[in-house]
Amino acid sequence: MAVTALVGAAGAASMFELLQLSPPGWGANLLRGLWNSILIACGAFGLGIGIGTLGAFGKLYGGPVLRDLLAVYTTVVRAVPELVLILILYYAVTDAVNQTLLAFGYDRIQISGLAAGIAVLGVVQGAYATEVLRGAIQAVPAGQIEAARAMGMPPGLLARRVTLPLMLSNALPGLANLWLVATKDTALLAVVGFGELTQETRQAAGATKAYFTFFMAAGVLYLILSIGSGWLFARLERRARRGQPELHG
């Protein structure tokens, strides 16, 4: 008994040593990875909402060609694994930027993993956001939009003052889901070698052979992130729904 207790205590001590912030421990690396993950997730989510808003308006009010092109975009992105898209877009984006730079007589540049990650995940998020926002806009009562048109509101003002605020409460649950997908999809960038949380964790675990300690610690960090943001989105939704009658399921 005493021996197992001793071994257990030694194990716990070494575990905390490994997770310490200062150099013998790897805590600082994990936190830096978490920060990178959050940065990419925020950037990709923002870019995705931008693309999604344009895409949703295009799908609802655009011409037939634009609508079909957007349908191809959302279908293809949602049918191909993110991992494959990340590789294709990563190479294609890097290549395209360098070709353009060369054509204008500049030197080729090394695109930072952060920018490439945000761009790639943003394009993926954009496809899902298009569908979420399109559904939310369609759920806005038609009378509201017609009333605004009848008052002579130009389309831009109508979108800003009527459609977008009204659809926000419908869109928030879907967007919250998308944000969670964005935080988890950042892990895929580990495969192209970008130093976000999962990649840093694997390096720490590989160097110390303490696989369980580090993967569990990273899991806890991801869980805190997703539970925390879930709570935040619930509050946001309550705020966006203020004044609306409560739904009883």
Partner: protein
């Protein structure tokens, strides 16, 4: 059919055709014959992993959903925790935790090394299958919770009034109606699961994604294998979507 082929769509289809013909003629495809056998094996392994993880995952998801929907707190709480943890962490992390963690733990335990399962546990695919199964169970447990709760109370009360035993109610009334409600969601989740399978390539399972990566490493051709890979995944997605549509069409839809 006439409604689909409007003039602008004919033009777009022609442009798409030109792009396809151009890429067939101008990109490098000479490596394809050398890798056909490997690719077939990879596709087979992808589909096999997908099917096995969905069947096993659903078998876990049904009790998970039941426990969360109507179970006593002692069952509901662990089920909810499991679903939250699985849904709150990336699959890649779960996969690496199982593969590197368990994979480094098992060799240190003598009776596992001496057991008959050791030759299987030394390979990578059991860990991939386990991670995919647990992940599917976590997501579907949540879906099934909603589906079980959505079945109208009157159906269950009628069954109980007829004196049906509880297991028969579950088998004949509750589960079929819950599955029927969940079917459209399950179709989408199956596609998501397909898109999760290439992650197993990171733990050395040779699925179709791993084959494409190998072509890239062997021949230094970047785009062509990836494009073909995307086409393969789109084809499998199409088959899944059509299959579910066919299946939904076969079920009489007025339940509630």
């Amino acid at each position: 059919m006439r409604a689909f082929w409007k003039p602008h769509r004919i033009v777009m289809a022609l442009i798409a055709l030109v792009i396809v013909v151009w890429s067939v003629l101008n990109l490098r495809w000479d490596w394809v014959p050398n890798y056909l056998g490997l690719a077939a094996q990879g596709i087979w392994r992808t589909i096999w992993l997908l099917a096995a993880s969905i069947v096993l995952g659903m078998a876990l998801a049904i009790p998970l959903g039941l426990a969360q929907a109507v179970g006593p707190r002692i069952l509901a709480w662990p089920a909810r925790t499991f679903c939250t943890v699985i849904r709150g962490t990336p699959l890649l992390l779960q996969l690496w935790l199982l593969y590197y963690g368990l994979g480094s733990l098992f060799p240190t335990i003598p009776w596992i090394r001496q057991s008959e399962f050791w030759p299987i546990l030394r390979q990578a695919w059991p860990y991939g299958l386990l991670a995919l199964t647990l992940s599917f169970a976590g997501y579907e447990g949540e879906v099934m919770r909603g589906a079980f709760k959505g079945v109208p109370k009157g159906q269950l009360e009628a069954a109980r009034a007829m004196g049906m035993p509880r297991l028969t109610i579950l088998r004949r009334i509750w589960l079929p109606q819950a599955l029927h409600r969940a079917l459209p969601t399950l179709g989408g989740e199956t596609v998501l699961q397909l898109k999760a399978t290439p992650l197993v390539a990171t733990i050395t399972v040779v699925d179709i994604y791993a084959v494409a990566s190998r072509v890239r490493q062997d021949t230094f051709i970047t785009y062509e294998p990836l494009l073909l890979l995307a086409v393969v995944y789109m084809a499998i997605t199409g088959i899944i979507v059509l299959g579910f549509r066919w299946f939904e069409g076969r079920i009489p839809s007025r339940v509630a």
